[in-house]
């Protein structure tokens, strides 16, 4: 892909229709460097956004991670203000013309902006792609999905950041997370056409399976048995491979989750003392609430005893009555009533044998006695009542005391609960969001994730071992199968095709393995060449070489052979990333220059003088097109002078402010540069 021209209408700061033509090697002068110069806020990143928006329809750049979607506007603000007057939506667009493999493409994306009351709304509209082939025929594609496929085939979305990037952020490629690395590896494979090889291997695997299934249906005897075994092993191998892929994904997801937790835990560190205080307060609160519950239960059990106090006077009154009777000897009676009745009604004589006859003074005296005493049952009952009432009277004071104590303890407990609740509320206010998970919960979740990862790791080992066993069993059976084919002269077309598919599958796997190894090694070699050229003297003394890992991530080795990536500076990381990109481009283009632009926003921000000088000197030779979006502080007379010396500088544009929210693009002659730029101060 070589960018030829970009046209923008009411996009970001670029009001009205404005355009830029890029210098490219395809043009007769062979110059491939374009510099777009502007102070901060003039729209350099807006231009970068325009390219990414045109190609992929993406509104956000990787540097917008912390920006809310709602806050990011692409339609020009001044034009939007006009809609308030006219009420029509603003039609903003970006049109990008580029060449790829000698064919021309024009992609145009429209974005509509309108105010709905006071809310600003931006809505993607039509997208079209015109493709002019080498024979001069032009095709127009309107289906967004088809356009997406075509663009991704030209420059995979996953590797776009290797070619269209913010110079200051490019070093992030060396810090990519596991999941990003996977995506990047996918993109790089696509760029290097390694994915085509993977697809071919998969297709052969399917063909092999189909042929073997067909063959096993027709085969007989020992040969059929071996075929059946191999088919089963093949099936198992595929299942195990799928499981291994799933395990990798699960592991990656767990890693993402773990990282999120780690970020949250970092935040928690700042409020850990408050969390501890809240936890203590909550524990105390729980204990106080339990105590209050216990006190209420105890109160429930004391109600009956307390009720006795309501009839204290009755209890006292009856107790005194029985007590007096007791003291007078009326209860229990001195003579039992049943004995007097027996003397009067049955014996008619006294214990001393004296007769008791009706009307005699003895009988009258005994009847008087009889009327005075109660019956035995009632007396016993009264005595029992006396004992019970005596007991009630005895603990009356105790029960009063207990009730008072219970009520007081409950009041104190409630007061403590109220205080603790207020304390918790106050801590929550200080923390900010009381509904957030506690650090302890997060730690627990993290522990669970780590446990799960250990389990997954164990499963991965087991699955790998199982897969190895299956592969080895499959390999063991292969010669037997061939021998039987030979012995039985089994040479029908189907078996020959199955054998051929098997051999090709093996050969392709071998090719894949060697090819990827070679590619990685070549990328590393090329990256090291560029790295040595671009690095300053001190860096060359410390850093030995770049290594490309299996997932195409990078490592750097110091002069003592130790991994050193974590210790290098931001500038060195930037140089390392650019070296890798240049190497990638070279390997992908089979040792010529890859038809890809290097579109760099703020290219020199973090670079030292020598790094800048080297980059300006060598980079135009590494790539097909270099587009620099530079500020006045990083692109000064000296940088311009180095660039002119290289004789690859073709176009120069200046972004000028025409008032708030409006920038115009002005093309300038390279010869005028010296009058526009600042002197370099204190650098040599």
């Amino acid at each position: 892909m070589i960018l030829e021209k970009i046209t923008m209408k009411d996009f970001r700061q670029f009001q009205g229709i404005q355009h830029i033509e890029f210098a490219s090697e395809t043009k007769s002068d062979g110059k491939n460097v374009t510099v777009i110069f502007g102070e901060n806020g003039r729209g350099k990143t807006g231009l970068f956004r325009a390219v990414v928006f045109a190609l992929y329809g993406e509104r956000r750049l990787s540097q917008d991670e912390e920006v809310q979607q709602k806050e990011l506007y692409l339609v020009n603000s001044v034009a939007m203000e006009d809609t308030k007057t006219y009420g029509k939506p603003v039609e903003a667009y970006v049109e990008l013309i580029f060449q790829h493999k000698n064919e021309q493409y024009t992609i145009k994306r429209i974005l509509l902006g309108i105010f709905d009351r006071d809310e600003r709304i931006e809505q993607p509209d039509q997208v079209t792609l015109s493709h002019t082939k080498t024979d001069g025929n032009t095709f127009t594609i309107n289906d967004p999905e088809d356009i997406k496929k075509i663009i991704n085939n030209i420059l995979d979305k996953n590797v776009k950041e290797y070619f269209l990037f913010d110079g200051e952020k490019i070093q992030r490629l060396t810090l990519a997370s596991i999941e990003q690395k996977k995506e990047v590896a996918k993109g790089i494979k696509s760029l290097l056409n390694v994915d085509a090889l993977e697809k071919a291997i998969k297709a052969l695997q399917r063909l092999k399976k189909e042929l073997n299934t067909e063959l096993s249906k027709r085969a007989t005897g020992e040969y059929a048995k071996i075929l059946h075994q191999q088919n089963q092993l093949d099936e198992k191998r595929n299942t195990l491979k799928t499981r291994l892929e799933e395990i990798e994904s699960e592991y990656t997801l767990l890693n993402i989750e773990k990282k999120k937790i780690d970020t949250l835990l970092e935040e928690y560190k700042e409020i850990s003392h408050l969390l501890k205080e809240r936890k203590d307060a909550e524990t105390q609160l729980k204990s106080q609430e339990e105590q209050a519950g216990n006190l209420l239960s105890e109160m429930k059990s004391r109600t009956a005893k307390a009720s006795q106090l309501l009839i204290s006077s009755t209890i006292d009154h009856v107790f005194d009555f029985i007590d007096q009777k007791k003291q007078k000897g009326e209860i229990p009676s001195e003579i039992r009533k049943d004995l007097i009745e027996r003397i009067l009604d049955v014996e008619r004589k006294c214990i001393c044998d004296r007769p008791v006859l009706p009307g005699t003074p003895e009988q009258i005296a005994l009847i008087r006695w009889k009327n005075k005493v109660s019956d035995v049952e009632l007396e016993d009952s009264a005595l029992e009542m006396w004992r019970s009432l005596s007991s009630i009277k005895n603990y009356r004071e105790d029960i009063s005391g207990v009730i008072e104590t219970l009520l007081q303890r409950y009041a104190v407990c409630k007061n403590d609960i109220e205080k603790l609740r207020k304390k918790t509320e106050s801590i929550n206010e200080q923390i900010g969001a009381s509904e957030r998970k506690d650090a302890a919960d997060l730690e627990k979740t993290r522990e669970n994730i780590e446990k799960k990862q250990i389990e997954i790791e164990a499963e991965r080992m087991t699955t790998k071992n199982e897969l190895d066993a299956v592969e080895s069993e499959y390999a063991r059976l292969s010669p037997q199968r061939k021998k039987l084919e030979k012995e039985e002269n089994f040479k029908n077309e189907l078996s020959l095709r199955a054998g051929l598919a098997e051999d090709t599958y093996k050969a392709l796997q071998e090719v894949y393995s060697r090819f990827t190894e070679e590619i990685k090694s070549r990328i590393a070699i090329e990256a090291n060449k560029y790295f040595v050229q671009l690095l300053d003297k001190e860096g060359r003394e410390t850093l030995k070489n770049i290594l490309v890992n299996n997932d195409y991530s990078l490592q750097i080795i110091d002069r003592w052979g130790k991994p050193f990536l974590a210790n290098i500076s931001l500038g060195q990381r930037q140089v390392m990333s650019i070296s890798f990109i240049a190497a990638l481009a070279k390997v992908a283009s089979m040792d010529s220059i890859l038809e890809m632009p290097l579109f760099m926003d703020t290219p020199f921000g973090k670079l030292s003088y020598e790094h800048r000088k080297n980059l300006i000197k060598y980079l135009p030779g590494y790539c097909a097109q270099w587009i620099l979006l530079a500020t006045d502080t990083e692109f000064r007379k000296q940088e311009a002078s180095f660039l002119r010396e290289g004789k690859r500088w073709g176009k120069f544009y200046v972004l000028r402010s025409e008032g708030p929210g409006v920038t115009t693009i002005q093309e300038r002659d390279i010869e005028e540069v010296q009058y526009l730029l600042q002197e370099n101060i204190g650098e040599n």
Binding site: T303, A304, A306, I315, V318, E384, L407, Y410
Partner: protein, 142 residues
Amino acid sequence: MNMSGDIRVKTDKKYRNLYNDLRNLAVGDMHELFFLCVCLGYRAKKMKPLDSNGEERFWSRTITPEEYACYYAIMLEKNSMDLSSTRDDKLVIAEMEKYANGGIEILLKDFLNEYCSADYKLDSAYSKELPKALLYFIREQF
């Protein structure tokens, strides 16, 4: 003290919900709640016969000796200390049922009005602290 255990103690049918709710939320056992109502009723000398003979609520065997002693004491005091008034437990309990029925009306009027609905059902959401409130209420009556 016979303390018969085979008598079915009755309360007014319309207070069924109230007895059940108070038993669950504020008191503990039905005989204890009945005792409280008797004490309140007798203290205020308020007796109220049960509507259509009332509804059986619990067995007399759950009444404690102390509660029985208090019931006999009430009977004695009420009947000019005639010990024979405590002879028939059925009669004693029947008298107590009337005092309890009077007592629950006092509870309703003086204490439960803010916790209770028109159909004499307690609102459990507001009744968490009922044991405490009831104890306060009893204490205030001393």
